[in-house]
Structure formats: C-alpha cells, structure tokens
C-alpha cells in the first residue's frame, strides 16, 4: 500500500480508524485476579531488599525512615511540602536510600501498613509493587510505588489536616506531580513520566 495521504478520503478514513483503535491501548483493566494468580504461582521472596535501579523496582518497596522526610515542617499546623521537596522524596525512593519490602496489591500494602491510619486509596493499580510508611514529626505519610512500564510512579497519601496540598500540577527536577485533596486526604501522584500518564493514574484513585 502506498504512503497514506490523510487528505485522501479513503486513506483519511483508514488513519482515523487506526487512531481510534490505538486508544484501546490505555483502557483500564482489572489486574486483581492476575496479581493473585502470579503471587501464588510465582511468589517473590519477602526479604528486605535494597532498592536498585529502575528495573529492579518491580520487586521492591521503600520503607521510609523518618529522617528522609525531615523537610516536612515540625508543627501541629499542616506541613507545606514544596515541589522541590516532593521531587527529592521521589528521588530518595527510587535511588534506594531506604530498605524495602514488596507487595502485590493495594490491599496487601494496607495490611503491611496496618498501623497506618492513612489507608491507601482504592485503585485498580496495574503495577503495584511496593509501599512505604513514614512518621515524621508526627505526620504520617504513606507511599505506594507503582512500576509503570519500568518508570516508577509514586502515590503519597497523608491526612489533609497534616499536609497542605492544594489541587495543582507541578514539576521540579524532572519529576512531574499532580496534587489533590479528596476525602480528607492529601494525595500526590508523581513520576518522571508525562503528566497525562499521571492524570490517568490519579483518575483511577477512588
């Protein structure tokens, strides 16, 4: 077939059909059954692993240690985390500054963070692989690490009363982030991926 001419009605129709099919690439899918199956048939060893570069993130989570989040204000008032500080948090998680544990789902993350009163929001996360919890200056921040085609996306959750996080989109040091408040929680979705991908993940949070 010759090179397609979008101005030719038949070629234009063919291109439009191809483009419509391409949109099926991002339809949401429920991974829960598959996750349970794989966890049962190909279990991961539950060891404390150092976080390795990007590809190894599929097997690891970060246990945040208090000092890592020392930049949060020590105050009974809501802390204000700047985009630069959130980007630093992201880089700390992916660079392996803390020891790790692995989970396969949000439910499992919530069980592992049982003492956390910030239950992770419900989301059909496709590549849930890790969770972490930190308590800094008495402000709890829970993190969920998603392996998004080898580019990790991190979802942080904290009480809205503890963290001042207005609805906005920000970027710092190559890390894009979408912040929002919903249901009494301050949520930040961040990663070195296009903002549109972060919006897709944020839209799945319930």
């Amino acid at each position: 077939m010759a090179t397609q001419n979008p101005h030719d009605p038949q070629d234009g129709l063919d291109l439009a059909t191809s483009a419509r099919l391409a949109k099926l690439r991002s339809t949401p899918v429920d991974m829960s059954r598959l996750q349970q199956f794989v966890a049962r048939e190909i279990p991961r060893r539950r060891t404390r692993l150092m976080l390795r570069p990007v590809l190894a993130l599929a097997a690891s989570i970060v246990l945040m240690i208090g000092g890592t989040l020392a930049f949060f204000a020590f105050s009974s008032r809501p802390a204000m985390a700047s985009p630069v500080e959130m980007a630093q948090l992201y880089n700390d998680v992916v660079s392996g500054k803390a020891s790790n544990m692995a989970v396969h789902s949000v439910d499992e993350a919530n069980r592992m963070l049982a003492s956390n009163d910030q239950a992770m929001p419900n989301m059909p996360a496709e590549q849930v692989m890790a969770c972490c919890m930190s308590k800094v200056h008495n402000k709890r921040v829970a993190c969920l690490v998603l392996n998004d085609q080898a580019n990790p996306i991190i979802v942080t959750v904290t009480k809205a009363a503890d963290m001042d996080m207005p609805d906005c989109q920000r970027s710092a040091n190559g890390v894009n982030m979408i912040m929002s408040q919903r249901g009494g929680k301050a949520i930040c979705v961040m990663g070195k991926v296009p903002v549109e991908r972060l919006r897709q993940v944020a839209a799945e949070i319930k």
Binding site: Q10, T17, T27, E41, E126, Q127
Partner: protein
C-alpha cells in the same frame, strides 16, 4: 537459578502484564485465563529471552501460541473464517463517513471491542498488533508468521471490516 528467574520475571515480564490482559480481552471471553497461561509459559521459558530483547513481541508471540493451543482443544469449535474466501470488500465507502474521526470517537471502547471480536481471528490479531499495540509491520509479521506485506493488507481490510460492523452501509433497495 529459580530466584534469578523469579527476579527476571518481575523485572522484565510483569510490567507487560496489563498490556497482555488488554490484548487478551480482544481475543477471548476468559482473558484472565489466557494471560495466566501465557505468563506461566513465559516464566518457564524466560531463559530464552535475552535481557537486551524487547519482551513485548516475545510475550505477544507466547500469547498467540497459547491462544492457538486453546482453540485446538477438544470441544472448542473454531468459528474462524478462511481469509482467502473473504470477498475483497472495502467496507463502507468513504462517502458514508463524512467526519470519520468524530464518528469513530462516538463509539465507546466497549463497542469497538465488541466489533473487533466479530472479526476473523487473524484479522483481529493484525489490528491488535498494528493498531492497538502500535507494533511496526515487520515485528507484527514476525509474531504472526506471515510476510510484512500481508500484515499491511490485512490491516487495511480489517479496518474496513471494523467500520462496516460499527456502522453498516445502508442497504440499497433493488426497486
């Protein structure tokens, strides 16, 4: 050794699981079952995957072979159509699609998926690889085991057939 295989599985194969599940939804009523079998086969064959190789076409080939095995099982009647017997039909003429992009956008994802499922299996595979997955013709040809030229012509015919299913051309009365 087993630990290495498990590590490699989660690092190199698991990130593609969602992609496989989306593809399987276009092929089978039980997409989870198809992908579960595929992932197990991939895990067992992981030593044949070079770390430098893109795992996606490798996994899609395993998905395809698993699907073929499923269709061959006793009790599974193939409802596929011999592609050579299909009339060379360009489907609805372009004139019926005045604003193709807007018209196609008006169909929901589920409507498009349902229409895809009505296509012959080989046509569906071609559109799945070329359009849904965005794989180039050469790579799609390798997965399907056919020449690249055949991939192109099947994709063209498949899109036309899809449009005909979504918006059939009005029947002209003989009167």
């Amino acid at each position: 050794m087993a630990q290495d295989a498990t590590k490699r599985f989660y690092a190199e194969i698991w990130p593609h699981a969602a992609m496989l599940l989306r593809a399987a939804r276009l092929l089978s009523g039980d997409a989870d079952d198809l992908v579960q079998e595929t992932l197990l086969k991939a895990f067992k064959a992981i030593d044949s995957l070079d770390s430098d190789t893109n795992a996606r076409p490798w996994l899609l080939t395993i998905l395809r072979n698993t699907r073929i095995d499923q269709l061959r099982r006793p009790g599974r009647e193939s409802t596929d159509i011999d592609l050579d017997q299909l009339a060379d039909d360009s489907g609805s003429p372009a004139a019926n699609w005045q604003h193709p992009q807007e018209m196609l956008e008006a169909f929901s994802d589920q409507q498009v998926i349902d229409a895809l499922k009505k296509l012959p299996e080989e046509i569906r595979w071609t559109l799945l690889l070329v359009d849904v997955q965005g794989i180039d013709h050469a790579e799609a040809a390798a997965v399907l085991g056919i020449p690249a030229g055949t991939v192109k012509s099947r994709a063209f015919r498949g899109r036309a057939m899809l449009r005909e299913i979504l918006a059939p051309a009005p029947q002209i009365s003989p009167d």
